[in-house]
Symmetry: C2
Amino acid sequence: MDATHRLVILGGGFGGLYAAKALKNAPVQVTLLDRRNFHLFQPLLYQVATGALSPGEIASPLRSVLRRQKNTQVLLGEATDLDAERRRLILDDGQAVEYDSLIVATGSADSYFGHDDWRRNAPGLKSIEEATEIRGRILFAFEAAEIEHDPGKRREWLTFVIVGAGPTGVELAGALAEIAHDTLRHDFRSIHPQDARIFLLEGGPRILPTYPEDLSDKAKASLIKLKVTPQTGVLVTGIDDGGVTGKTPAGNQRISARTVIWAAGVRPSHFAEVLEHRAGAPRDKRGQVIVNGDCSLPGHPEIFVIGDLAYVEQDGKPLPGVAPVAMQQGEYAAKLIRARLRGQTLPPFRYRDKGSLAVIGRASAVAQIGPLHLSGLLAWLTWLFVHLMYLVEFSNRVMVFIQWGFLYLTFNRGARLITGPDPSGHPAESVGELRSPSLKR
Amino acid sequence: MDATHRLVILGGGFGGLYAAKALKNAPVQVTLLDRRNFHLFQPLLYQVATGALSPGEIASPLRSVLRRQKNTQVLLGEATDLDAERRRLILDDGQAVEYDSLIVATGSADSYFGHDDWRRNAPGLKSIEEATEIRGRILFAFEAAEIEHDPGKRREWLTFVIVGAGPTGVELAGALAEIAHDTLRHDFRSIHPQDARIFLLEGGPRILPTYPEDLSDKAKASLIKLKVTPQTGVLVTGIDDGGVTGKTPAGNQRISARTVIWAAGVRPSHFAEVLEHRAGAPRDKRGQVIVNGDCSLPGHPEIFVIGDLAYVEQDGKPLPGVAPVAMQQGEYAAKLIRARLRGQTLPPFRYRDKGSLAVIGRASAVAQIGPLHLSGLLAWLTWLFVHLMYLVEFSNRVMVFIQWGFLYLTFNRGARLITGPDPSGHPAESVGELRSPSLKR
């Protein structure tokens, strides 16, 4: 009987992957379980959605990343249930995986604030599939406008609405403006892509609400320069296939648009419910799991919850749902497990905030690094450097760097493909019939 | 009223795109109609299916390729009918597009020889979607084997069957062998990817049946060295979710396998039927359109049919359905249209065969260039050079070159993603609900 400590990590995002990597050569048998076979560099997903990068360039096979780590096994599968008493995870095929310690890092999903019917007309940006879906919708809108003779309908195809002006919404709006004004500039004969109208709707009083106010103002000015229309104080009340309805301080408004993208909110992944029902996990009003100071679950010191799924307050404020928090928590949990195996413990987790960065366009970004507030080219270069450094670890950095070089010099976005099961209403012959039941385990 | 000659080109593959490019600056108003927004470099599709390249690296937006050609308009749409008398194409949305000349270059689709039910268990390799589907199936098979405890079922997951040993089948088999033996070598803990069995089934007496016999033999030896099992004289009689049934010279056989790929045959695209019914086009027994010596339709000198859709004999033999034939026919049709506008004509089309190339693996290929038969490294270098030269025109060459450099040096295939609507039985949350009726025109 092997007495090695068995750790199961649920989720191969930033939290789970950094936990696994921090346990290299530890006397721990690590199993990383994910329903996808790759780690996704989510902060660059908007670049896939806007045709600058290919999915393969921001995703790395988990096995590849962890291949040299002999104490670690990667499993493709989805955990659907938990037996906290017997320390077993139940997978969707009924199989049980036993653990001595468990790290849950299943992240978050889009939240439509109770209006899940909005999803079909306003996809979010959480997965590769959604990113290529959004890419297809944006590109198809220009194609549809090109063949549309009716000026009103053409205008609807050339109107884009992004709901939510956090970093993702701002980055999408900026990239979309560059597509319209630069990338597609010479590509059409009947329309002028520059006529595209891009609305960025925000419920709060300013865009980038988590950033310092001066940077919000700078970002707003940059977006307006790119011909984006930011609107703050807009409460979206409806999204249908003809556009977006909302309440503004000036009254109700309706924007007729054929392309709407959702960047307004996230909710914890459904495993939070499993933790509540099976391990008595307390949850806050947004549904996140409230954890102890050492990221463990109250009453279950062997279960850690990290990343977007966890609710942690620091200095009286909740930690934001960003990659650095998840990475640091993953590394902390790994370190704590190592310490416990030596009969020791660690002081509570503390997040070291290295700053926030949001890119707006070519050579334009805003950044907060401690007391430092940057904008423009300097912020953009910082953004570039930070992201390339992170990508270094995932073997894709050279390709991304070259792609960005091309993009910067030529405005050309090479990955402008409309793909998918039915991206344009013009499916490839018979592609739709391909799904095989043999893939079901 | 504009008296410029209106040419409509149906299809943006090799034939259609080369016709359009050959009409740069001609006194012709060109409309290129395709149901996809990109030109696909189909000869490299197998590299997407095997995770070496990303879709964006072998596809170029048609608008991008033709953006500087002011007399050319690209339209996204599908032609469903033809009014040959009034010279109008009917699109799927009911719109009519008038032409003075028409070039039909809609290519071919997979043919299952009347067994269309085989498709769901044995996808072909004609589109980006099918390539990423096959990629997902190959990668998922290894994942499923890793978590399978039953040795018999594990063996089924590790068995791959490729039906058809033309260039596509041979190239797929070679790449799949490299995935199993090199790329995934260190990636798994419970299985040895090297245990994978790869069968390459061919109905004829030898693999690469259109190549000279000595090259078939060399390719066979190379494949066996890569641990592929080529079987010739096998008539497939059934494909289901458990494997492939066939008749061999030695009797019936059954190969239990969870992953089957179809590379055995193509049929003309369905527009051949439209041409038969609406313009009286004669068709051969495989359904291709039999054209005049100048690639025009009998009785309709203004309609040209080129590429895989056309049946042309030269020196008593039918021309093969390969990219160079389509490209030369496209350029010929363009030249003939230019000549006619000057009141001239041209001698009949003649295909100049520059040779055939099939790659088997790293530094291994076979090539026929006129009387020259090459194999091994020299053939592979020729293949590399020829493909990079072709890609030059489509702006992706640098990326592909770098990817190949990495692949050659490290065996690492960066684009090993399982994606799609339900690639693994583990869809991303709610992705399946995304399709929007608003994309229907």
